[in-house]
Subunit: 312 residues, 2 copies
């Protein structure tokens, strides 16, 4: 079914949540928004391209979910509260059924986090989804990459390697274990964790390119090194059952797309972190320590390529 650009926009508008701080939403040259007094605005923008960021056979509802999830994950990694987003959707053709399914996934996640879609555009082109997401954080409370100090402990939420495990199976043409596929297609942005880590974590990043690569962003920004134990990396049952131990460790250490949070905290805050894990019912694994020096060293892991780079 084909329809015009404005019909597509009308389909999207019907789904949008209401927020008091949106003075003017979709339908003018700009959205007009009222940031809360005294708060900093956290802004991120991530694009997903078909065949690059998700397999071409990904369900449109999962594409909608994931495109928003990766942006919410960036807000989570800063400790920001999600508020508004804009959506730039490039579609090869106007397909109402595709768009409705995309919206199902997108707005299911948007509703969970109370984020309002306030603008954007739909254009004709190769399938691509760009989202800019906005959130709020108190000045001085954001979780940056440059606050890790020697002696801090390194933590990671949830489990690692699941999304990369699904992708490895997909690339091998194998049947994909459903729990792994779910982690690839519907990542969970750790927004509540990010908020709760304000005042506890010294640095934080989300695991999008692979743990070693993302932790290296923290060590580089902070001017420190990190010693990680491969045995301490958390694995899901599905990953353990699907891969041999060496392959599993590589997926955990270098696989992208998990969207867990990797963070550092002073050793004195260990109990506070453990209490958070209990309160949020989210496992938080202590995987190593920040040290003087530079680079990320992972004991118990063979030679690896540290993480995904576009154009590498």
């Amino acid at each position: 079914m084909s329809e015009g650009e404005f019909d597509l926009i009308a389909r999207i508008r019907r789904r949008i949540a209401v927020r008091d701080d949106v003075a003017l939403g979709i339908g003018d040259d700009c959205a007009l928004l009222a940031p809360p007094p005294g708060m900093q605005l956290a802004v991120t923008m991530d694009t997903l391209n078909a065949g690059v960021h998700f397999p071409a056979d990904t369900a449109p509802a999962d594409i909608g979910w994931k495109a928003l999830a990766v942006n919410l994950s960036d807000l989570a990694a800063m400790g920001a509260q999600p508020a508004w987003c804009t959506l730039a959707l490039s579609l090869p053709q106007a397909d109402a059924a595709w768009l409705e399914a995309f919206c199902d996934g997108f707005f299911a996640l948007a509703q969970q986090h109370g984020i309002a879609l306030v603008g954007g555009d739909t254009t004709r082109g190769p399938l691509s989804i760009g989202i800019a997401a906005h959130g709020f954080v108190e000045p001085g409370m954001a979780l940056r990459r440059d606050g890790a100090r020697a002696g801090d402990e390194v933590w990671v939420s949830g489990t690692l390697g699941d999304a990369a495990g699904a992708l490895a199976q997909w690339q091998a043409g194998a049947a994909i274990a459903p729990p792994l596929r779910a982690r690839l297609d519907r990542p969970t942005p750790r927004v509540a964790l990010g908020r709760a880590l304000r005042g506890i974590a010294s640095a934080c990043i989300d695991v999008s390119d692979g743990l070693l690569a993302d932790l290296a962003h923290i060590t580089r920004a902070s001017g420190v090194g990190a010693d990680i134990e491969a045995d301490a990396l958390p694995a899901s049952d599905a990953l353990r059952e699907t891969f041999a131990i060496d392959a599993m460790r590589r997926l955990q250490a270098t696989g992208g797309d998990d969207y867990e949070l990797c963070f550092t905290a002073p050793a004195s805050r260990r109990e506070a972190v453990q209490a958070l894990a209990a309160r949020l019912r989210l496992p938080l694994a202590r995987i190593g320590r920040i040290v003087a020096g530079n680079g990320v060293h992972c004991a118990g892991l063979g030679p690896v390529v540290p993480g995904y780079q576009h154009f590498a």
Copy 2:
């Protein structure tokens, strides 16, 4: 020349302007920004795809300029002061020379308007440039589409049809008149005009899809109609010299990509508008009148397709 994603980002970072309200720019999961107290935030996001929004042979510096210009134009159309932007760049391959040229155009325009690039991403994919732009406007002072009232006069800045004239020549395989090509490749966002129209204009939009189509957005949002005189539409000398009168009128009325402002104002503000034209050294043409009813009627023009629609 090919290089990695982080080298590309480093190339971009070297060019960025400093603003006091950017607490944290490119290089973390989010930018951290300090909106000025009491101001509304105006947010827009527009994407340009190669072959759809610009001819494939467009110079990279012009692509950089235009991608930012179309977003600044949206801020202008709201009367907002540009502040920050994010850039999502999809490139088929990492090409340092291409990126440096793109940055030449992008940052030349960014500098003119004091807008800081604060984040975004570079990904591999078909050439596409997505930008989210942020500006400030006093509450209640934004130029919306829904404020036109019967009796208001309709105005347009600069000249119309130049960009569409260039595109028509390009599509015909003809040599493109340089003044027209310049208007297609390097549109001028009317930021100063938009700011100056606060308190004068009753409604405003930028001419991106074609005058009749864009003015119809105003009449629909405002619940009014508009009567326009084709003879009153402003034309450049280059357009007059290049096209016969009928073709010229069609380009002026329906051609997109001029990024002039079309606005309405009470007849009582006619002298204020004319004074603005003199102060800004920018011609402002009175092209018609808002009337009761609906639709845009253009006297002196044959049957036309009203404007560009994706997927139409």
